[in-house]
Symmetry: C2
Subunit: 286 residues, 2 copies
Amino acid sequence: MKIIIAKEAGFCFGVKRAMDMIYKIPEKYPDKKVYSFREVIHNPQEVKRLESLGVRVIQNIRQIEGGAIAIVGTHGITPLEQENLKKKGIYFVDTTCPYVKKIHNIVEHLAQNNYQILVIGDKYHLEVKGIMGHCHGKGKTISSSSEIKNIKAGPKIGIVAQTTQNTNEYEKIIFDIINKLFKTKQMEIRIFNTICDATYKRQKETMRIAQKVDVMIIIGGRNSANTVRLYKLCKKIQKNVYLIETAGEIKKEWFINKKILGISAGASTPDWIIKDIVSKIKELNI
Amino acid sequence: MKIIIAKEAGFCFGVKRAMDMIYKIPEKYPDKKVYSFREVIHNPQEVKRLESLGVRVIQNIRQIEGGAIAIVGTHGITPLEQENLKKKGIYFVDTTCPYVKKIHNIVEHLAQNNYQILVIGDKYHLEVKGIMGHCHGKGKTISSSSEIKNIKAGPKIGIVAQTTQNTNEYEKIIFDIINKLFKTKQMEIRIFNTICDATYKRQKETMRIAQKVDVMIIIGGRNSANTVRLYKLCKKIQKNVYLIETAGEIKKEWFINKKILGISAGASTPDWIIKDIVSKIKELNI
């Protein structure tokens, strides 16, 4: 059986960078207690690996004692949370994705220059919550065009998107905003395309592979939104699709009489899990 | 016969302001020669009136001698032309429309901050030529969506419109620009709605009036684009429409058996011509 592994499978640039930083902590600060402020990554196996190295995942800054080290995840935090960590004397390793950091800088600049800020994305997502904090009260989240009617437009509007926003959806919302506001008066609308193309590229490549194989395996956490999304997209074009977290879930019967297997993985799936699964499949000798 | 005169008929804010400034010149500088650098206004009667006051219309700065006064029209001029006037020791009365001046300031700011600038409008129009000068080599004119394919996009793009651009057309071009560029990469598009709503309001009101009258008169220069546009728009919904420049052109037969007359005028039509025509029609006693 031939195996095709998606080039875009697994850790995106931001997650890879974050994990590299995190794994250096125990070596760098051998005597410090290390906390992860919320989950750094939506992959149970990788989180377990982190925990085995002494990293404790907590949800609230109150759970961290002064002098300890806190890991700030890829999605970033608000300026208030940064302030609270500093006040408590907690040193934090900031793994915020540079693409998210760029959005923080953009909205800080917009807020300082009195723009109304519209953040297009999921208001319950950690990334969006962090961005909103950096808007300093001048931000509003918009998750769909239906929410545009509530905008009371000033003369200067700035628009940014969550890094994982769908490009077509972002464009549609921008068009609806322009259409609603431009007729009324002279004004400025400043739009930033802040969408990271890793998710888009991964979905596109995975679907292309799913079309030309007999069976498809998606690797990643069942709590990872982008992994589940990959699985659902493949299901539309390929009936033999399996979502697994570990090599232990593999069943030989999936591959009987199959000629080509396709493999892809979510942005939070570590390479060691992908490699582990690939070698387990090769051992089956099909 | 009842007469309805459009509220938005005649001089727009910018033209009115310019003419107020111009008619004060002979009083303020009684000993100076006064030139109009290109036509200040597209109305032959008003230009003739200006000429009778000693204002000479010229097309080239070389035709003006040092020490004279030059009127800069509502459409504005380029920084190079300003410089040339200053170098020759010519004092210029700048009647550039404040809405156009605002665009000059916007593109100057964009050019200083290394934005690529797209000017949406008619590249042969004086206003657009002036704006392009203020872009200091960083501007490009776009008159229709078909020209978008030639844009080589950098990371920062600023977009402005000619003040008389049609709002729907401007939106369509913006959407096409976003659609072409956003898919490619992270970038910023900064859009300014610089359209002046006087033209839009005048057209809307004129068409509303044309629908409910028996006969319609449009007053203005046959060389005035916005006046001719009003005439053509009315022709679509009303067969009895007449475009005239002066009271001398009125024909009694137009009004026989008519109950309501509608009157509108272009942005460059002075009040005295409108009043003259209205009183001539009233004298007909129809």
